[in-house]
Protein backbone atom coordinates (compact mmCIF):
# COMPACT_ATOMS: atom_id res chain seq x y z
CA UNK A 1 0.00 0.00 0.00
CA UNK A 2 2.78 2.38 0.79
CA UNK A 3 4.74 2.24 -2.43
CA UNK A 4 3.92 5.28 -4.46
CA UNK A 5 4.31 5.01 -8.22
CA UNK A 6 5.00 7.98 -10.46
CA UNK A 7 1.40 8.16 -11.63
CA UNK A 8 0.15 8.42 -8.02
CA UNK A 9 2.76 11.08 -7.25
CA UNK A 10 1.60 13.03 -10.29
CA UNK A 11 -2.00 12.66 -9.17
CA UNK A 12 -1.47 13.93 -5.61
CA UNK A 13 0.58 16.85 -6.92
CA UNK A 14 -2.33 17.75 -9.17
CA UNK A 15 -4.86 17.30 -6.34
CA UNK A 16 -2.72 19.68 -4.25
CA UNK A 17 -2.49 22.07 -7.27
CA UNK A 18 1.29 22.10 -7.12
CA UNK A 19 3.27 21.96 -10.37
CA UNK A 20 5.91 19.22 -10.11
CA UNK A 21 8.23 18.75 -13.11
CA UNK A 22 8.47 15.18 -14.38
CA UNK A 23 12.09 14.79 -13.33
CA UNK A 24 11.13 15.56 -9.70
CA UNK A 25 8.42 12.91 -9.55
CA UNK A 26 10.70 9.95 -8.60
CA UNK A 27 12.06 11.79 -5.56
CA UNK A 28 8.57 12.93 -4.58
CA UNK A 29 7.25 9.37 -4.88
CA UNK A 30 10.07 8.12 -2.69
CA UNK A 31 9.49 10.78 0.00
CA UNK A 32 5.75 10.26 0.08
CA UNK A 33 6.25 6.49 0.25
CA UNK A 34 8.55 6.91 3.21
CA UNK A 35 6.05 9.10 5.07
CA UNK A 36 3.26 6.63 4.37
CA UNK A 37 5.34 3.71 5.65
CA UNK A 38 5.88 5.68 8.86
CA UNK A 39 2.10 6.12 9.17
CA UNK A 40 1.48 2.44 8.65
CA UNK A 41 2.60 1.69 12.19
CA UNK A 42 -1.01 2.60 12.92
CA UNK A 43 -2.02 -0.76 11.47
CA UNK A 44 -0.69 -2.40 14.64
CA UNK A 45 -3.38 -0.74 16.76
CA UNK A 46 -6.62 -2.55 17.54
CA UNK A 47 -9.27 0.04 16.67
CA UNK A 48 -12.22 -2.32 16.77
CA UNK A 49 -15.26 -0.46 18.12
CA UNK A 50 -13.36 2.83 18.62
CA UNK A 51 -15.08 6.02 17.49
CA UNK A 52 -12.93 8.54 15.58
CA UNK A 53 -12.20 11.72 17.51
CA UNK A 54 -14.22 14.57 16.03
CA UNK A 55 -14.02 17.10 18.86
CA UNK A 56 -10.85 17.77 20.83
CA UNK A 57 -12.58 18.88 24.01
CA UNK A 58 -16.04 17.64 24.93
CA UNK A 59 -17.89 20.82 24.14
CA UNK A 60 -20.88 21.71 22.09
CA UNK A 61 -20.15 24.29 19.44
CA UNK A 62 -21.83 27.60 20.10
CA UNK A 63 -24.67 28.71 17.93
CA UNK A 64 -25.33 32.23 16.79
CA UNK A 65 -28.02 34.08 14.94
CA UNK A 66 -27.66 33.80 11.17
CA UNK A 67 -27.23 37.51 10.56
CA UNK A 68 -24.87 39.82 8.70
CA UNK A 69 -22.36 41.22 11.17
CA UNK A 70 -19.67 42.50 8.86
CA UNK A 71 -19.14 43.77 5.35
CA UNK A 72 -18.97 46.90 3.18
CA UNK A 73 -15.21 46.86 2.94
CA UNK A 74 -14.48 46.04 -0.68
CA UNK A 75 -11.28 48.10 -0.62
CA UNK A 76 -9.89 46.22 2.35
CA UNK A 77 -10.87 42.87 0.87
CA UNK A 78 -9.09 43.64 -2.39
CA UNK A 79 -6.13 45.49 -0.88
CA UNK A 80 -3.82 42.45 -0.85
CA UNK A 81 -4.83 40.97 -4.21
CA UNK A 82 -2.00 40.47 -6.72
CA UNK A 83 -4.37 41.68 -9.46
CA UNK A 84 -7.58 43.54 -8.65
CA UNK A 85 -9.48 45.59 -11.21
CA UNK A 86 -12.69 47.58 -11.04
CA UNK A 87 -13.63 46.11 -7.70
CA UNK A 88 -12.98 42.49 -8.63
CA UNK A 89 -10.21 39.92 -8.38
CA UNK A 90 -8.70 39.43 -11.83
CA UNK A 91 -7.70 35.91 -12.92
CA UNK A 92 -6.87 34.22 -16.23
CA UNK A 93 -9.80 33.33 -18.43
CA UNK A 94 -11.79 30.49 -16.80
CA UNK A 95 -14.54 29.90 -19.38
CA UNK A 96 -13.97 29.97 -23.13
Amino acid sequence: MSDIDLETARKVAHLARIAVPDDHLPRLAQELGHMLRFMEQLNEVDIEGVEPMVSVTPMRLKRRADGVTDGDMQDKVLANAPDAREGFYAVPKVVE
Binding site: I18, V20, M35, M39, L42, E44, M53, M59, P92
Partner: protein
Protein backbone atom coordinates in the same frame (compact mmCIF):
# COMPACT_ATOMS: atom_id res chain seq x y z
CA UNK B 1 20.76 45.12 38.19
CA UNK B 2 19.65 43.56 34.88
CA UNK B 3 19.63 45.56 31.68
CA UNK B 4 16.09 46.71 30.94
CA UNK B 5 15.70 44.28 28.03
CA UNK B 6 16.67 41.39 30.33
CA UNK B 7 13.95 42.07 32.91
CA UNK B 8 11.19 39.55 33.48
CA UNK B 9 7.61 40.65 32.86
CA UNK B 10 6.96 40.58 36.61
CA UNK B 11 9.97 42.80 37.38
CA UNK B 12 9.15 45.23 34.58
CA UNK B 13 5.48 45.40 35.61
CA UNK B 14 6.37 46.20 39.20
CA UNK B 15 8.91 48.84 38.20
CA UNK B 16 6.51 50.39 35.66
CA UNK B 17 3.82 50.63 38.30
CA UNK B 18 6.28 52.09 40.79
CA UNK B 19 7.20 54.75 38.24
CA UNK B 20 10.77 53.51 38.41
CA UNK B 21 11.02 52.87 34.66
CA UNK B 22 9.00 53.83 31.59
CA UNK B 23 7.65 51.67 28.80
CA UNK B 24 9.48 53.95 26.36
CA UNK B 25 12.78 53.12 28.10
CA UNK B 26 12.03 49.39 28.07
CA UNK B 27 11.01 49.56 24.42
CA UNK B 28 14.12 51.50 23.42
CA UNK B 29 16.32 48.99 25.24
CA UNK B 30 14.67 46.13 23.34
CA UNK B 31 14.87 47.94 20.00
CA UNK B 32 18.57 48.51 20.66
CA UNK B 33 19.08 44.83 21.44
CA UNK B 34 17.17 43.84 18.28
CA UNK B 35 19.31 46.23 16.22
CA UNK B 36 22.44 44.50 17.48
CA UNK B 37 21.14 40.96 16.95
CA UNK B 38 20.80 40.71 13.19
CA UNK B 39 22.97 37.57 13.33
CA UNK B 40 20.22 35.75 15.22
CA UNK B 41 17.64 36.52 12.50
CA UNK B 42 14.92 36.33 15.16
CA UNK B 43 12.98 39.50 14.34
CA UNK B 44 12.08 39.52 10.65
CA UNK B 45 9.93 42.66 10.63
CA UNK B 46 10.65 45.31 13.27
CA UNK B 47 7.97 47.92 13.98
CA UNK B 48 9.94 50.53 15.88
CA UNK B 49 7.68 53.54 15.25
CA UNK B 50 4.54 51.63 16.15
CA UNK B 51 6.26 50.24 19.25
CA UNK B 52 7.33 53.66 20.49
CA UNK B 53 3.88 55.14 19.96
CA UNK B 54 2.30 52.23 21.86
CA UNK B 55 4.92 52.61 24.60
CA UNK B 56 4.04 56.29 25.00
CA UNK B 57 0.37 55.37 25.22
CA UNK B 58 1.19 52.70 27.79
CA UNK B 59 3.13 55.20 29.88
CA UNK B 60 0.12 57.54 29.83
CA UNK B 61 -2.15 54.70 30.90
CA UNK B 62 0.23 53.65 33.67
CA UNK B 63 0.22 57.23 34.93
CA UNK B 64 -3.53 56.96 35.54
CA UNK B 65 -2.79 54.12 37.95
CA UNK B 66 -5.20 51.77 36.19
CA UNK B 67 -3.15 49.54 33.91
CA UNK B 68 -3.28 45.75 33.40
CA UNK B 69 -0.22 43.60 34.07
CA UNK B 70 0.96 43.52 30.45
CA UNK B 71 0.70 47.32 30.05
CA UNK B 72 3.96 48.72 28.75
CA UNK B 73 5.65 45.30 28.34
CA UNK B 74 7.59 44.99 25.04
CA UNK B 75 6.82 41.69 23.30
CA UNK B 76 7.52 39.98 19.99
CA UNK B 77 4.77 38.41 17.91
CA UNK B 78 5.29 35.24 15.89
CA UNK B 79 4.86 35.86 12.15
CA UNK B 80 1.91 33.43 12.16
CA UNK B 81 -0.32 36.02 13.87
CA UNK B 82 -2.08 38.49 11.60
CA UNK B 83 -1.25 42.01 12.75
CA UNK B 84 -3.10 44.95 11.29
CA UNK B 85 -1.09 46.82 8.66
CA UNK B 86 2.08 44.90 9.55
CA UNK B 87 3.60 42.16 7.38
CA UNK B 88 2.28 38.75 8.44
CA UNK B 89 3.43 35.98 6.17
CA UNK B 90 3.82 32.80 8.22
CA UNK B 91 7.46 32.79 7.04
CA UNK B 92 6.23 31.79 3.58
CA UNK B 93 7.14 33.21 0.20
CA UNK B 94 3.51 32.68 -0.83
CA UNK B 95 2.43 35.46 1.56
CA UNK B 96 5.05 37.97 0.39
CA UNK B 97 3.75 41.47 0.89
CA UNK B 98 0.62 40.44 2.78
CA UNK B 99 -0.49 43.11 5.25
CA UNK B 100 -3.67 42.05 6.99
CA UNK B 101 -6.35 44.70 7.44
CA UNK B 102 -7.25 43.06 10.77
CA UNK B 103 -5.62 41.91 14.01
CA UNK B 104 -5.69 38.38 15.43
CA UNK B 105 -7.73 38.06 18.62
CA UNK B 106 -4.72 37.04 20.74
CA UNK B 107 -2.49 39.89 19.56
CA UNK B 108 -5.45 42.30 19.84
CA UNK B 109 -5.96 41.24 23.48
CA UNK B 110 -2.28 41.83 24.20
CA UNK B 111 -2.43 45.20 22.41
CA UNK B 112 -5.55 46.20 24.31
CA UNK B 113 -3.87 45.22 27.58
CA UNK B 114 -1.17 47.74 26.70
CA UNK B 115 1.58 45.33 25.57
CA UNK B 116 3.99 46.87 23.07
CA UNK B 117 4.61 44.91 19.87
CA UNK B 118 8.24 45.25 18.77
CA UNK B 119 7.80 43.34 15.52
CA UNK B 120 7.32 39.92 13.98
CA UNK B 121 9.33 36.82 14.77
CA UNK B 122 10.87 34.17 12.57
CA UNK B 123 9.41 30.66 12.43
CA UNK B 124 9.21 27.59 10.22
CA UNK B 125 7.08 28.11 7.11
CA UNK B 126 3.41 27.74 8.11
CA UNK B 127 4.71 26.36 11.44
CA UNK B 128 5.80 23.17 9.68
CA UNK B 129 9.22 22.29 11.02
CA UNK B 130 11.28 21.74 14.15
CA UNK B 131 14.41 23.77 13.38
CA UNK B 132 13.27 27.07 11.82
CA UNK B 133 15.07 26.00 8.64
CA UNK B 134 11.94 25.94 6.46
CA UNK B 135 11.49 29.72 6.87
CA UNK B 136 11.51 31.93 3.79
CA UNK B 137 13.57 34.39 5.84
CA UNK B 138 16.31 31.82 6.49
CA UNK B 139 16.74 30.17 9.89
CA UNK B 140 16.72 31.95 13.23
CA UNK B 141 19.86 31.15 15.22
CA UNK B 142 20.01 29.94 18.80
CA UNK B 143 21.80 32.41 21.12
CA UNK B 144 23.25 29.34 22.87
CA UNK B 145 26.53 28.30 21.26
CA UNK B 146 29.26 25.86 22.26
CA UNK B 147 31.61 25.87 19.27
CA UNK B 148 31.81 27.52 15.87
CA UNK B 149 28.53 25.96 14.71
CA UNK B 150 25.27 27.90 14.62
CA UNK B 151 22.63 25.90 16.48
CA UNK B 152 18.92 25.77 15.80
CA UNK B 153 16.63 27.47 18.30
CA UNK B 154 14.10 24.75 17.46
CA UNK B 155 10.82 25.25 15.72
CA UNK B 156 8.43 26.20 14.67
CA UNK B 157 8.46 29.13 17.15
CA UNK B 158 12.26 29.42 16.80
CA UNK B 159 12.40 33.20 16.39
CA UNK B 160 10.25 33.64 19.50
CA UNK B 161 12.50 31.35 21.55
CA UNK B 162 15.74 32.93 20.29
CA UNK B 163 14.41 36.46 20.94
CA UNK B 164 13.30 35.69 24.49
CA UNK B 165 16.54 33.84 25.35
CA UNK B 166 18.71 36.61 23.88
CA UNK B 167 16.88 39.45 25.66
CA UNK B 168 15.49 41.06 22.50
CA UNK B 169 12.03 41.25 24.06
CA UNK B 170 10.63 40.45 27.48
CA UNK B 171 8.35 37.74 26.10
CA UNK B 172 6.87 36.51 22.84
CA UNK B 173 3.85 34.75 21.44
CA UNK B 174 4.24 31.27 20.03
CA UNK B 175 1.94 28.66 18.58
CA UNK B 176 2.07 24.91 19.10
CA UNK B 177 0.58 22.28 16.78
CA UNK B 178 2.87 19.35 17.66
CA UNK B 179 5.41 20.89 20.02
CA UNK B 180 6.23 24.23 18.39
CA UNK B 181 6.24 26.18 21.66
CA UNK B 182 7.70 23.55 23.98
CA UNK B 183 10.56 22.20 21.82
CA UNK B 184 12.07 25.65 21.06
CA UNK B 185 11.61 26.67 24.70
CA UNK B 186 13.59 23.56 25.73
CA UNK B 187 16.32 24.30 23.15
CA UNK B 188 16.82 27.85 24.43
CA UNK B 189 16.43 27.55 28.20
CA UNK B 190 13.11 29.40 28.22
CA UNK B 191 9.59 28.61 29.40
CA UNK B 192 6.72 27.92 27.00
CA UNK B 193 3.19 26.76 27.69
CA UNK B 194 0.66 25.38 25.25
CA UNK B 195 -2.69 25.81 26.96
CA UNK B 196 -5.70 23.52 26.68
CA UNK B 197 -7.19 23.42 23.17
CA UNK B 198 -9.81 26.18 23.15
CA UNK B 199 -8.18 28.44 25.76
CA UNK B 200 -6.83 30.88 23.18
CA UNK B 201 -8.81 32.03 20.19
CA UNK B 202 -7.33 30.86 16.89
CA UNK B 203 -9.00 33.70 14.99
CA UNK B 204 -6.48 35.62 12.89
CA UNK B 205 -3.70 33.08 13.41
CA UNK B 206 -2.70 31.57 10.05
CA UNK B 207 -4.15 28.06 10.28
CA UNK B 208 -1.99 24.94 9.99
CA UNK B 209 -3.99 22.08 11.57
CA UNK B 210 -7.08 23.53 13.15
CA UNK B 211 -7.83 20.71 15.60
CA UNK B 212 -4.28 20.90 17.01
CA UNK B 213 -3.19 24.57 16.81
CA UNK B 214 -3.01 26.60 20.02
CA UNK B 215 -1.27 29.87 20.87
CA UNK B 216 0.70 30.39 24.06
CA UNK B 217 3.33 32.59 25.70
CA UNK B 218 7.11 32.09 25.58
CA UNK B 219 8.87 33.73 28.50
CA UNK B 220 11.91 33.64 30.75
CA UNK B 221 10.07 32.43 33.86
CA UNK B 222 6.99 30.41 34.79
CA UNK B 223 5.53 33.45 36.55
CA UNK B 224 5.83 35.45 33.33
CA UNK B 225 4.01 32.69 31.44
CA UNK B 226 1.20 32.86 34.00
CA UNK B 227 0.91 36.63 33.60
CA UNK B 228 1.02 36.64 29.80
CA UNK B 229 -1.22 33.60 29.30
CA UNK B 230 -4.00 35.29 31.27
CA UNK B 231 -3.86 38.22 28.84
CA UNK B 232 -3.92 35.94 25.77
CA UNK B 233 -6.79 33.59 26.54
CA UNK B 234 -10.54 33.92 26.84
CA UNK B 235 -13.67 33.25 24.86
CA UNK B 236 -13.96 34.68 21.36
CA UNK B 237 -17.20 34.43 19.37
CA UNK B 238 -15.10 34.50 16.18
CA UNK B 239 -13.58 31.07 16.99
CA UNK B 240 -16.30 28.50 17.51
CA UNK B 241 -13.83 26.18 19.27
CA UNK B 242 -12.77 28.77 21.83
CA UNK B 243 -14.03 27.85 25.27
CA UNK B 244 -16.58 29.99 27.04
CA UNK B 245 -14.96 29.53 30.43
CA UNK B 246 -13.76 32.10 32.94
CA UNK B 247 -10.03 32.84 32.82
CA UNK B 248 -8.54 32.37 36.28
CA UNK B 249 -5.82 34.59 37.73
CA UNK B 250 -3.03 32.16 36.91
CA UNK B 251 -0.39 34.18 38.70
CA UNK B 252 -2.37 34.12 41.94
CA UNK B 253 -2.39 30.33 41.72
CA UNK B 254 1.43 30.20 42.00
CA UNK B 255 1.41 29.30 45.68
CA UNK B 256 4.60 27.25 45.58
CA UNK B 257 2.78 24.49 47.44
CA UNK B 258 2.60 21.19 45.56
CA UNK B 259 2.32 18.91 48.59
CA UNK B 260 0.09 15.95 47.88
CA UNK B 261 0.11 16.47 44.10
CA UNK B 262 0.37 13.15 42.29
CA UNK B 263 2.86 13.32 39.43
CA UNK B 264 2.79 10.52 36.85
CA UNK B 265 5.94 9.18 35.17
CA UNK B 266 4.82 7.44 31.96
CA UNK B 267 6.95 4.38 31.26
CA UNK B 268 6.33 4.58 27.50
CA UNK B 269 8.31 7.83 27.31
CA UNK B 270 11.50 5.96 28.15
CA UNK B 271 12.47 5.65 24.50
CA UNK B 272 15.10 3.40 23.08
CA UNK B 273 18.25 5.34 22.27
CA UNK B 274 17.33 8.22 24.59
CA UNK B 275 20.53 10.05 25.65
CA UNK B 276 21.57 9.17 29.22
CA UNK B 277 21.67 12.87 30.12
CA UNK B 278 17.99 13.31 29.27
CA UNK B 279 17.07 10.21 31.24
CA UNK B 280 19.11 11.46 34.23
CA UNK B 281 17.51 14.91 34.04
CA UNK B 282 14.07 13.33 34.00
CA UNK B 283 14.88 11.30 37.13
CA UNK B 284 16.26 14.40 38.85
CA UNK B 285 13.11 16.33 37.95
CA UNK B 286 10.96 13.64 39.58
CA UNK B 287 13.16 13.76 42.69
CA UNK B 288 12.84 17.56 42.87
CA UNK B 289 9.06 17.33 42.76
CA UNK B 290 9.11 14.56 45.39
CA UNK B 291 11.31 16.70 47.63
CA UNK B 292 8.76 19.50 47.24
CA UNK B 293 6.09 17.19 48.63
CA UNK B 294 4.59 15.61 45.52
CA UNK B 295 3.95 11.91 45.19
CA UNK B 296 5.65 10.26 42.20
CA UNK B 297 3.62 7.50 40.53
CA UNK B 298 4.60 5.21 37.67
CA UNK B 299 1.89 5.31 35.02
CA UNK B 300 1.22 3.85 31.59
CA UNK B 301 0.09 5.66 28.44
CA UNK B 302 0.03 2.61 26.18
CA UNK B 303 -0.68 4.30 22.84
CA UNK B 304 2.18 6.84 23.05
CA UNK B 305 4.14 5.13 20.29
CA UNK B 306 1.36 5.79 17.80
CA UNK B 307 1.03 9.51 18.46
CA UNK B 308 3.59 10.66 15.88
CA UNK B 309 2.26 8.54 13.00
CA UNK B 310 -1.31 9.59 13.85
CA UNK B 311 -0.20 13.22 13.93
CA UNK B 312 1.48 12.91 10.54
CA UNK B 313 -1.81 11.77 9.03
CA UNK B 314 -4.11 14.24 10.77
CA UNK B 315 -1.95 17.38 10.56
CA UNK B 316 -1.26 17.16 6.78
CA UNK B 317 -4.92 16.29 6.13
CA UNK B 318 -6.03 19.46 7.89
CA UNK B 319 -3.16 21.49 6.44
CA UNK B 320 -4.00 20.53 2.87
CA UNK B 321 -7.47 21.93 3.41
CA UNK B 322 -6.34 25.07 5.26
CA UNK B 323 -3.63 25.87 2.72
CA UNK B 324 -5.98 25.52 -0.26
CA UNK B 325 -6.68 29.23 0.19
CA UNK B 326 -3.22 30.21 -1.11
CA UNK B 327 -4.20 30.33 -4.73
CA UNK B 328 -2.59 33.52 -6.02
CA UNK B 329 -5.95 35.28 -6.22
CA UNK B 330 -6.70 37.05 -2.96
CA UNK B 331 -3.33 37.78 -1.37
CA UNK B 332 0.37 37.15 -1.58
CA UNK B 333 2.40 35.78 -4.44
CA UNK B 334 1.11 34.96 -7.92
CA UNK B 335 3.39 33.27 -10.44
CA UNK B 336 4.15 34.97 -13.73
CA UNK B 337 2.12 33.09 -16.31
CA UNK B 338 3.01 32.00 -19.82
CA UNK B 339 0.94 32.86 -22.85
CA UNK B 340 -2.19 30.73 -22.84
CA UNK B 341 -1.91 29.57 -19.21
CA UNK B 342 -5.31 29.06 -17.64
CA UNK B 343 -6.45 29.21 -14.05
CA UNK B 344 -5.20 25.71 -13.18
CA UNK B 345 -1.68 26.62 -14.36
CA UNK B 346 -1.94 29.78 -12.29
CA UNK B 347 -2.74 27.76 -9.15
CA UNK B 348 -0.13 25.10 -9.80
CA UNK B 349 2.71 27.46 -10.67
CA UNK B 350 1.87 29.88 -7.85
CA UNK B 351 1.85 27.12 -5.25
CA UNK B 352 5.00 25.45 -6.64
CA UNK B 353 6.86 28.77 -6.39
CA UNK B 354 5.26 29.95 -3.17
CA UNK B 355 5.49 26.90 -0.93
CA UNK B 356 8.79 25.45 0.30
CA UNK B 357 9.65 21.75 0.09
CA UNK B 358 8.35 20.68 3.52
CA UNK B 359 5.05 22.51 3.08
CA UNK B 360 4.64 20.98 -0.39
CA UNK B 361 5.21 17.48 1.00
CA UNK B 362 2.56 17.90 3.67
CA UNK B 363 0.08 19.56 1.36
CA UNK B 364 0.42 16.55 -0.97
CA UNK B 365 0.18 13.90 1.76
CA UNK B 366 -3.13 15.45 2.78
CA UNK B 367 -5.14 14.66 -0.35
CA UNK B 368 -3.61 11.17 -0.44
CA UNK B 369 -4.73 10.18 3.07
CA UNK B 370 -8.12 11.81 2.46
CA UNK B 371 -8.69 10.28 -0.99
CA UNK B 372 -11.60 7.88 -1.49
CA UNK B 373 -9.60 4.64 -1.47
CA UNK B 374 -7.41 5.52 1.53
CA UNK B 375 -9.66 7.57 3.81
CA UNK B 376 -10.47 4.66 6.12
CA UNK B 377 -6.99 3.14 6.00
CA UNK B 378 -5.21 6.37 6.96
CA UNK B 379 -7.33 9.32 8.05
CA UNK B 380 -10.13 7.54 9.86
CA UNK B 381 -7.74 5.08 11.45
CA UNK B 382 -5.58 7.98 12.69
CA UNK B 383 -8.64 9.66 14.21
CA UNK B 384 -9.53 6.44 16.02
CA UNK B 385 -5.98 6.12 17.35
CA UNK B 386 -6.31 9.74 18.48
CA UNK B 387 -9.35 8.72 20.54
CA UNK B 388 -7.24 5.99 22.18
CA UNK B 389 -4.38 8.41 22.93
CA UNK B 390 -6.83 10.82 24.53
CA UNK B 391 -8.38 7.95 26.51
CA UNK B 392 -4.94 6.98 27.86
CA UNK B 393 -4.70 10.41 29.48
CA UNK B 394 -8.29 10.39 30.72
CA UNK B 395 -7.66 7.10 32.46
CA UNK B 396 -4.57 8.27 34.34
CA UNK B 397 -6.28 11.51 35.34
CA UNK B 398 -9.27 9.46 36.56
CA UNK B 399 -6.82 7.51 38.72
CA UNK B 400 -5.99 10.74 40.52
CA UNK B 401 -2.88 11.85 38.64
CA UNK B 402 -2.60 15.65 38.70
CA UNK B 403 0.24 16.15 36.23
CA UNK B 404 2.64 14.10 34.13
CA UNK B 405 6.40 14.67 33.96
CA UNK B 406 8.32 13.82 30.76
CA UNK B 407 11.39 15.03 28.89
CA UNK B 408 10.55 17.93 26.56
CA UNK B 409 12.78 16.84 23.67
CA UNK B 410 14.85 13.77 22.76
CA UNK B 411 18.04 15.88 22.47
CA UNK B 412 19.53 19.31 23.08
CA UNK B 413 19.68 21.85 20.23
CA UNK B 414 21.43 20.54 17.12
CA UNK B 415 23.41 22.36 14.46
CA UNK B 416 21.68 24.21 11.65
CA UNK B 417 22.03 22.19 8.46
CA UNK B 418 22.84 18.94 10.29
CA UNK B 419 19.50 17.41 9.37
CA UNK B 420 19.60 18.60 5.75
CA UNK B 421 20.24 15.15 4.31
CA UNK B 422 18.13 13.27 6.83
CA UNK B 423 14.80 11.78 5.93
CA UNK B 424 11.88 14.14 6.80
CA UNK B 425 10.69 11.55 9.34
CA UNK B 426 13.95 12.01 11.34
CA UNK B 427 13.03 15.66 11.90
CA UNK B 428 9.53 14.66 12.99
CA UNK B 429 11.02 12.69 15.93
CA UNK B 430 11.74 16.02 17.65
CA UNK B 431 8.06 16.10 18.57
CA UNK B 432 7.92 12.60 20.04
CA UNK B 433 7.32 13.79 23.64
CA UNK B 434 5.13 16.78 22.84
CA UNK B 435 2.74 15.67 20.10
CA UNK B 436 0.55 13.46 22.34
CA UNK B 437 -0.49 16.60 24.20
CA UNK B 438 -1.81 18.28 21.04
CA UNK B 439 -3.69 15.16 19.98
CA UNK B 440 -5.41 15.04 23.37
CA UNK B 441 -5.93 18.83 23.56
CA UNK B 442 -4.19 19.06 26.95
CA UNK B 443 -2.08 21.85 28.45
CA UNK B 444 1.70 21.25 28.43
CA UNK B 445 4.61 23.36 29.58
CA UNK B 446 8.37 23.16 28.99
CA UNK B 447 10.57 24.27 31.88
CA UNK B 448 14.37 24.65 31.68
CA UNK B 449 15.84 22.10 34.08
CA UNK B 450 19.58 22.02 33.46
CA UNK B 451 22.49 22.05 31.06
CA UNK B 452 23.97 19.06 29.28
CA UNK B 453 27.66 18.18 29.56
CA UNK B 454 28.46 20.55 26.68
CA UNK B 455 26.60 23.43 28.29
CA UNK B 456 23.36 23.43 26.29
CA UNK B 457 19.97 23.81 27.98
CA UNK B 458 17.65 20.86 28.46
CA UNK B 459 13.98 21.08 29.36
CA UNK B 460 11.37 18.96 31.07
CA UNK B 461 7.71 18.90 30.17
CA UNK B 462 4.76 18.84 32.53
CA UNK B 463 1.34 17.85 31.16
CA UNK B 464 -1.79 18.92 33.03
CA UNK B 465 -5.47 18.18 33.22
CA UNK B 466 -7.70 20.02 30.75
CA UNK B 467 -8.44 23.64 31.80
CA UNK B 468 -6.13 23.35 34.82
CA UNK B 469 -3.32 25.56 33.55
CA UNK B 470 -3.17 27.28 36.96
CA UNK B 471 -2.29 24.07 38.82
CA UNK B 472 0.08 23.09 36.01
CA UNK B 473 1.90 26.44 36.21
CA UNK B 474 2.17 26.05 39.98
CA UNK B 475 3.82 22.62 39.62
CA UNK B 476 6.04 24.02 36.86
CA UNK B 477 7.16 26.82 39.13
CA UNK B 478 8.06 24.34 41.87
CA UNK B 479 10.19 22.47 39.32
CA UNK B 480 11.70 25.73 38.07
CA UNK B 481 12.76 26.87 41.52
CA UNK B 482 14.11 23.44 42.49
CA UNK B 483 16.10 23.20 39.25
CA UNK B 484 17.38 26.73 39.80
CA UNK B 485 18.13 27.26 36.12
CA UNK B 486 19.56 30.78 35.84
CA UNK B 487 22.08 30.39 33.03
CA UNK B 488 22.00 32.79 30.14
CA UNK B 489 23.78 32.45 26.83
CA UNK B 490 26.90 34.65 26.75
CA UNK B 491 26.50 37.36 24.14
CA UNK B 492 28.51 36.54 20.99
CA UNK B 493 26.24 37.98 18.31
Amino acid sequence: MSALNDLTIAEARDRLRAGDVTSVALTEACLGAIGGAGRLNAFVHTTADLALSRARAADARLATGDAPAMCGIPVGIKDLFCTEGVASQAASHILDGFRPPYESTVSAQLRDAGAVMLGKLNMDEFAMGSSNETSTYGPAVNPWKIDDRDLTPGGSSGGSAAAVAAGLCLAATGTDTGGSIRQPAAFTGTVGIKPTYGRCSRWGIVAFASSLDQAGPMTRTVRDSAIMLAAMCGHDPKDSTSADLPVPDFEAMLTGDIRGQRIGIPREYRMEGMPAEIEALWTQGAEMLRDAGAEIVDISLPHTKYALPAYYVIAPAEASSNLARYDGVRYGHRATLAQGDGITQMYEKTRAEGFGAEVQRRVMVGPYVLSAGFYDAYYNRARKVRTLISRDFEQVFAQGIDAILTPATPSAAFGLGEMADADPVQMYLNDVFTVTVNLAGLPGIAVPAGLDARGLPLGLQLIGRPWEEGALLNTAQALESAAGFVSKPPKWW
